[in-house]
């Protein structure tokens, strides 16, 4: 829903890195995004293509590595993965206690690396 400002932010960071590393072309951008985010890959690429026109990042492909939602049971310490849709009445697969968890991963929002020459 808010892909546009997010993509603008990604582009700004990558263009800054391009200057710093003196590269003339960015060909790929690798993102790490947690499954709690609702970003859509298809729209991210479309907005990126639009915003990057005329920059050294024009034509770069966005690759998203989706980080799963992992919860840790605060009772027994067991860590396990859940889908965003299954976040209702989650029970620990080991001790079966319900809804006592801390979030281990799923909120990632990072640019991991970029390929450039």
């Amino acid at each position: 829903m808010h892909e546009l400002p997010v993509i603008k932010s990604i582009l700004d960071i990558c263009l800054r890195q391009a200057v710093q590393y003196k590269v003339s072309k960015i060909v790929g951008i690798h993102l790490e995004i947690g499954r709690l985010s609702d970003l859509e890959e298809e729209w991210m690429q479309k907005y990126f293509d639009y915003l990057s026109e005329g920059t050294v990042a024009e034509g770069a492909k966005i690759k998203v590595e989706w980080v799963p939602i992992v919860l840790r049971c605060t009772e027994c310490g067991e860590s396990f993965e859940v889908a965003a849709k299954e976040l209702s009445g989650v029970a620990c697969p080991k001790c079966h206690i319900e809804n006592k968890f801390s979030l281990v991963s799923g909120k990632e929002y990072q640019i991991k690396n970029m390929e450039a020459y």
């Binding site: 400002p5 700004d12 590393y21 809804n99 909120k107």
Partner: protein, 224 residues
């Protein structure tokens, strides 16, 4: 063509916004102005809750409101009519507020004369969750008619909030809203969240919510 090289970026996508938000928090700390970011769906009762909160706290605190709206100033007018400092930020179609927009709002207000400043964010449970506004605390409203399944649909929002106000509690008997199920879902995502059951219309539960704000303000100005 020269060899393609891999550049490790390792930077948060919204790092510029986060940096700006941290800068705002430092400034708010100096000014001793407590900024609360209030988020909710359209129609959840943000403006009504703000008006009720003003009514409850105005004797003890100097209050202010930053209203965000895509393209109107109806809400700010309601607040100003109560004699409270308010400004309207028109986001021009943007679905959320970010730290740079909030900084414009802060620049337009006399922070030396404000103890508690409330941001009424855009009515939306998706986008505002991603953007740090520079607020000291985040709160959200979930109103009973919206349904108890909202934590399942908008999990991120529930993880970033310090407090959840369950509004329109006076509708509870007319709906199939299961308050315990909703709480279980919310605590699963965020065990430290504070939940307040209120009716901004009748005033039920407003005191507990206002007390929380008061305590948070006191902790903010007198950190231990």
């Amino acid at each position: 063509m020269s060899d393609v090289k891999l550049i490790e970026v390792k930077e948060n996508i919204l790092s510029d916004n986060k940096e700006m938000a941290e800068k705002l928090r430092r400034m708010l700390f100096e000014k001793k102005t407590f900024l609360l970011n209030l988020m909710a769906s359209p129609g959840a009762g943000k403006t009504t809750l703000i008006l009720k909160t003003i009514e409850t706290l105005r004797k003890e605190f100097r209050l202010g409101v930053i209203e965000a709206d895509i393209d109107s100033s109806v809400d700010a007018e309601k607040v100003v009519s109560q004699g409270i400092a308010a400004i309207q930020l028109r986001t021009g179609g943007f679905c959320h507020l970010d730290a740079s927009m909030v900084s414009k709002g802060l620049a337009a207000m006399d922070l030396d004369g404000i103890d508690i400043l409330i941001i009424e964010n855009i009515g939306n449970l998706v986008c505002p969750a991603e953007f740090d506004t520079g607020a000291i605390k985040n709160a959200m409203i979930l109103s009973v008619p919206e349904g108890d399944d909202k934590p399942l649909k908008y999990p991120l929002m529930f993880t970033v909030c310090d407090a959840l106000v369950v509004n329109k509690i006076d509708y509870l008997s007319m709906s199939d809203f299961n308050i315990q199920a909703m709480k279980d879902r919310v605590y699963a995502l965020n065990p430290n969240i504070r939940i307040f059951e209120v009716s901004a219309k009748t005033g039920e539960g407003i005191e507990a919510w206002a007390n929380w704000l008061k305590e948070e303000y006191n902790t903010f100005v007198n950190p231990t």
